[in-house]
Amino acid sequence: MTDAPLLKVRDISKFYGARIGCRNVSFDLWPGEVLAIVGESGSGKTTLLNCLATRLMPTSGTIQYRMRDGQMRDLARMGEAERRFLMRTDWGFVHQNPADGLRMTVSAGANVGERLMAVGDRHYGNIRETAGDWLRRVEIGLDRIDDQPRAFSGGMRQRLQIARNLVTAPRLVFMDEPTGGLDVSVQARLLDLVRGLVHDLGLSAIVVTHDLAVARLLSHRMMVMKDGHVIEQGLTDRVLDDPREAYTQLLVSSILQV
């Protein structure tokens, strides 16, 4: 980790008319750090994530990102072409529903290779080799490289989506409920995989989840949101072991124990 933050977020607010999406959110994200955003449904987690990933325009506030050349850039002032280029090279976005993030009608290999072709790779053999390599890393058999994602199970689709996002070696990955809708054993494998990848690649990630176990396993730091506000933030272990806010205490105590 270096001492300069990768992402600087200051006073981000998003209003849907009179309704609050999220309000006055500020934080820094450092390289190699995983930040979890937790909270109940409707607390503004996904709104915040979409604002950060420039999928939504925040009503007010600034988001600055440190480009590969070390310059801090205001995302709102970037041209659309540059922003889209950033989104498909230096960033990744893992959707809750893999069908949103994948091209369901083209093969797994092409799904992984799309970003490579988008940045100008024009050698079929190399693209395929890289795609195969990534499928192996996310534990999808090489014999499935020419299958379409719709022939894949939910867990495989999610892993494919992750491979597709990581192929250009991004520095920042946004994940929106990456384990939502998966059964527990598949969730565990996926979490294991993501944790390994994040560690190996030195990724920074912002993970939105309502599952505190996911936050505990993946993240270094977490933010608890309620009604659009960040009510508590700190190191994951601190927040989960010693929650200060009444709502966080409620959240932690409502985890089911088996």
Binding site: R103, T105, V106, S107, G113, E114, A118, R122, Y124
Partner: protein, 297 residues
């Protein structure tokens, strides 16, 4: 307003009213100014169904003058239904001279082929285009494809070619093969066989593309750089035929397969009928033609 004389009530010259023709001409000028860019236009209802060349007919109607000589081809042939009816249409509404000879024509409206004979300066080739958007089958959202064109995000086009190779071992797209125009816009050459793609490159003739249902016109001005997309290790190739044309013996032309009987008999003949006839008139002779002559004698 040059109406056909001596008839009381008649069509406006070339069917469309003058305002519509001006609108289409403005669109064409814009399309020529930005090669490969799809310019929207207010496509009109034409007296034929969509898919029969309403876009091409509107472009032809807008550029046609009384002095022009029109040739219409459908799949390379001058004598198929679509070609015959469009030719008759313009004879009726514009009273222009028509021909089947490529070199005599000033305007050639085409569906699915580019004539084998090299087009020259002063000629205009008008294509009938069903789906102008090359990215359509991969990205169904029009808002998104427009943005992709605007920002030159063409990685998706190669995804299609990748899929081809992954499934078939080679680029199996044989028609409507995407091209890049002047290093900028990716364009669909309409459903012409990829055999014809190299003919678009640096063509002396003006090439106009009209899509009636999709309401788009695009163009390639003369001497435009047109490159077919490919991979470094799977370069672009045109179709090759094992045998020459059975009637005129031509090689390196695009051939149609004609089934002769129900016992597997078939022949391969030029798809460009004018080219084939011209060669036969000049004494060229293919295997089946020689056989036919011998049988007749």
């Amino acid at each position: 307003m040059n109406a056909v004389p001596s008839e009381l009530a008649t069509y406006n010259f070339a069917y469309l009213d003058e305002q519509t023709k001006r609108m289409i001409r403005r669109t064409i000028l814009k399309a020529i100014a930005i090669p490969g860019y799809q310019v929207p236009f207010a496509s009109r209802e034409m007296p034929m169904p969509y898919g029969w060349g309403t876009g091409g007919v509107q472009v032809t109607a807008a550029i046609l003058g009384p002095e022009d000589v029109l040739k219409v081809i459908d799949q390379g042939a001058d004598d198929t239904t679509n070609a015959v009816s469009i030719r008759a249409f313009f004879q009726k509404v514009a009273n222009v001279a028509v021909t089947t000879k490529t070199r005599e024509a000033t305007i050639i409206q085409t569906r699915h082929r580019i004539p084998e004979e090299k087009l020259t300066a002063g000629q205009t080739l008008v294509y009938q285009v069903p789906i102008p958007e090359p990215l359509r089958f991969l990205e169904p959202r029009e808002t998104e494809t427009r943005k992709m064109h605007a920002l030159e995000e063409y990685g998706l086009m190669h995804v299609k070619l990748y899929e081809d190779i992954a499934r078939n071992g080679h680029i199996a797209t044989t028609y409507s093969y995407p091209v890049k125009v002047e290093g900028r816009y990716v364009m669909s050459p309409s459903p012409t066989p990829k055999f014809d793609n190299p003919k678009m490159h640096m063509s002396e003739a003006l090439q106009l593309f009209g899509a009636g249902r999709e309401k788009r016109i695009y163009a390639l001005p003369p001497f435009t750089d047109v490159v077919s997309l490919d991979f470094e290790d799977h370069p672009f190739e045109v179709q090759k035929f094992e045998r020459p044309c059975a009637l005129c013996g031509a090689e390196n032309v695009y051939l149609d397969e004609v089934v002769l009987d129900d016992r597997g008999g078939r022949m391969f003949v030029c798809s460009d009928t004018d080219h084939c006839e011209d060669r036969r008139d000049h004494g060229h002779c293919g295997t089946m033609l020689a056989y036919g002559k011998a049988a007749a004698e």
